[in-house]
């Protein structure tokens, strides 16, 4: 295994390419994931996230480039590597009409895992109460957690999750975040795709932003936002300052009225704050700092279409 940045790489992807009908869906994607890292692949629908993941899992043959998982190639099917990786697919992939516990016992048996590990995994994903509920009677969030449990039952070192939080309600999504953090705390390496920007920002150690099959940015969420030379959005309630007074603030642009607020952008937050606090109006100012969404907008020149 190659060492880089002081950590051991669990995943090394090099110039990965997949072409469908003459059109590259994944176009020269390269990145590495260190052991124990939570790595997010973020991108809008159709960016090539799932195809990238499937080539990494060995389910799809790459047209170009290479993948190394824990030092081995996943394609062609490598049965000594398979027990070391866990995969959760976008579809729930259950045996029909089995209970949560029966699913895990069955998946465990495929890997030669003792049935007593199953209770531990059920507890990890918070499904102990639903152990005897059939898969078709579980809620959306519970199904996703069971699906992750099925990928974890054989205690893999490396876990692939394909949009685990898609189509969940906000409550269930936050619930799942706790599960994912719990898995990371057990020292697993996690590679996961999502189209939720704020979720990737909260969960991931590092993020690769994928668009049109190419990595357009890759770093920690903080660094991605920090490197962005972006203007800060601000607003003041109407009546605090007139439009002209706002325009006279240092380095202010895009001044406009929006309902009960006057909105504008500035590069130097402190200068604006200074002027306002001299007038005793600083308490009214609201600022919104740059987010990954701004990073995406800056990089692609368009709104993020999730």
């Amino acid at each position: 295994m190659n060492k880089e940045d002081g950590g051991v790489n669990a995943v090394a992807v090099e110039a990965l390419t997949k072409v469908y009908g003459g059109k590259p869906v994944v176009d020269g994607v390269s990145f590495t994931v260190r052991e124990g890292e939570f790595f997010g692949i973020l991108g809008p629908n159709g960016a090539g996230k799932t195809t990238t993941l499937e080539m990494m899992e060995g389910l799809r043959k790459a047209d170009g480039g290479s993948v190394s998982l824990l030092g081995a190639s996943p394609h062609p099917r490598n049965t000594s590597l398979l027990p070391r990786i866990g995969v959760q697919l976008q579809s729930s992939a259950f045996f029909e009409r089995l209970t949560a516990k029966e699913q895990l016992v069955t998946f465990g048996a495929l890997y030669g895992v003792e049935a007593d590990r199953v209770d531990d995994v059920l507890a990890l994903v918070g499904l102990t109460e639903e152990a005897h509920t059939r898969e078709d009677k579980l809620s959306g969030g519970q199904r996703q957690r069971l699906s992750i449990a099925c990928a974890l039952v054989h205690d893999p070192e490396l876990l692939f999750l394909d949009e685990p939080t898609a189509s969940l309600d906000p409550q269930a999504r936050r619930n799942l975040w706790d599960v994912l953090r719990g898995i990371k705390d057990r020292g697993k390496t996690i590679v996961y795709t999502t189209h939720y920007i704020e979720e990737a920002e909260r969960l991931c150690d590092r993020i690769a932003i994928l668009d049109h099959g190419q990595v357009i940015a890759m770093d920690t969420p903080d660094a991605l936002v920090r490197d962005l030379d972006t203007r800060v959005s601000m607003d003041l309630p109407q009546g605090v300052l007139s439009l002209d007074e706002v325009r006279s603030l240092p380095d202010v642009q895009d001044v406009r009225e929006e309902g009960s607020k006057i909105c504008f952008t500035a590069t130097d937050t402190n200068a604006v704050m200074h002027v306002l606090s001299e007038r005793g109006d600083a308490g009214h100012l609201q600022t919104r700092t740059a987010s990954l969404e701004d990073v995406f907008l800056e990089l692609t020149g368009r709104e993020y279409r999730s």
């Binding site: 049965t79 995969v87 729930s92 992939a93 045996f95 069955t106 048996a109 495929l110 890997y111 049935a115």
Partner: protein, 250 residues
């Protein structure tokens, strides 16, 4: 439990919990038995050398088993592909052979239970079926028949990708096989081309062998041709299914 045992248990539980297919699997052959029993009962005194029930019972049983084995294996494959389970199995260190044989073991158990229930009803005085003492020699033929239908279903499931198309294809294939293979009427009455065409049907060979052993009292030599034909059919369909399954892989 081993992967083989656990997959069988999982599929078996899924089958038992599906009340609609349970009903279809076990009552369809009995429904045909009653229907044709009444129909052929009215044709008493035809040229056939056998009592009608003696003639129709083995054919109806084979047909019922063909229907449920083809449907079950085709739809299992389609639903496993649709819900992603096939890919999950591909990602587990378990061989396709293990998966197929454990799924097959459930089909065999179901077929044996179907046969047991069918005979229990056909033995009732109302139907009055009597088996020859050589009946047990038909067991290998029976198993090869189930294998042929299972692999036919896997082939259908590997070609047709949705529930609807796979069940339509299963119907379109198995129903004509029933007519072609002497299940519903003796092939003696059929045009000779039909007799020739029916040689390609696994159901025809299963019927021939079952009739010979169960009710005609012929010896094991009567099994050679039917068993050979069924084995050949199973090999060809499995080979084709393997081709279609791996071709669609990428």
């Amino acid at each position: 439990m081993t992967a083989f045992q656990q997959i069988s248990v999982a599929v078996g539980k899924g089958f038992v919990r599906d009340k609609a297919s349970l009903f279809f699997t076990f009552l369809l052959p009995l429904f045909f038995l009653v229907l044709f029993g009444i129909l052929f009962g009215a044709m008493e005194g035809s040229e056939s050398t056998l009592e009608p029930i003696q003639y129709i019972a083995p054919g109806i049983l084979s047909f019922g088993i063909a229907m449920s084995a083809v449907f079950a294996s085709a739809l299992t494959l389609v639903s496993w592909r649709e819900n992603g389970l096939l890919r999950k199995l591909q990602l587990a260190p378990v061989s396709p052979f293990t998966i197929l044989t454990s799924r097959f073991s459930v089909t065999v158990i179901v077929a044996v239970l179907q046969a047991a229930l069918f005979f229990a009803v056909a033995f009732l005085p109302f139907f009055g079926l009597r088996l020859e003492s050589t009946w047990w020699m038909a067991v290998p033929l029976f198993l090869l028949g189930v294998l042929s239908f299972f692999s036919l279903g896997i082939l259908i499931g590997s070609v047709f990708k949705t529930d609807q198309s796979a069940s339509a294809a299963s119907n379109l294939i198995v129903l004509p096989l029933g007519f072609l293979s002497g299940t519903f009427f003796p092939l003696d009455f059929a045009p000779s081309w039909m007799d020739t065409v029916s040689l390609a049907s696994p159901l025809r060979h299963m019927n021939d062998g079952m009739l010979a052993l169960l009710v005609r009292g012929e010896g094991p030599e009567a099994l050679l041709v039917p068993c050979g034909a069924l084995l050949l059919f199973a090999l060809i369909t499995t080979g084709l299914a393997g081709y279609f399954l791996t071709r669609g892989d990428q």
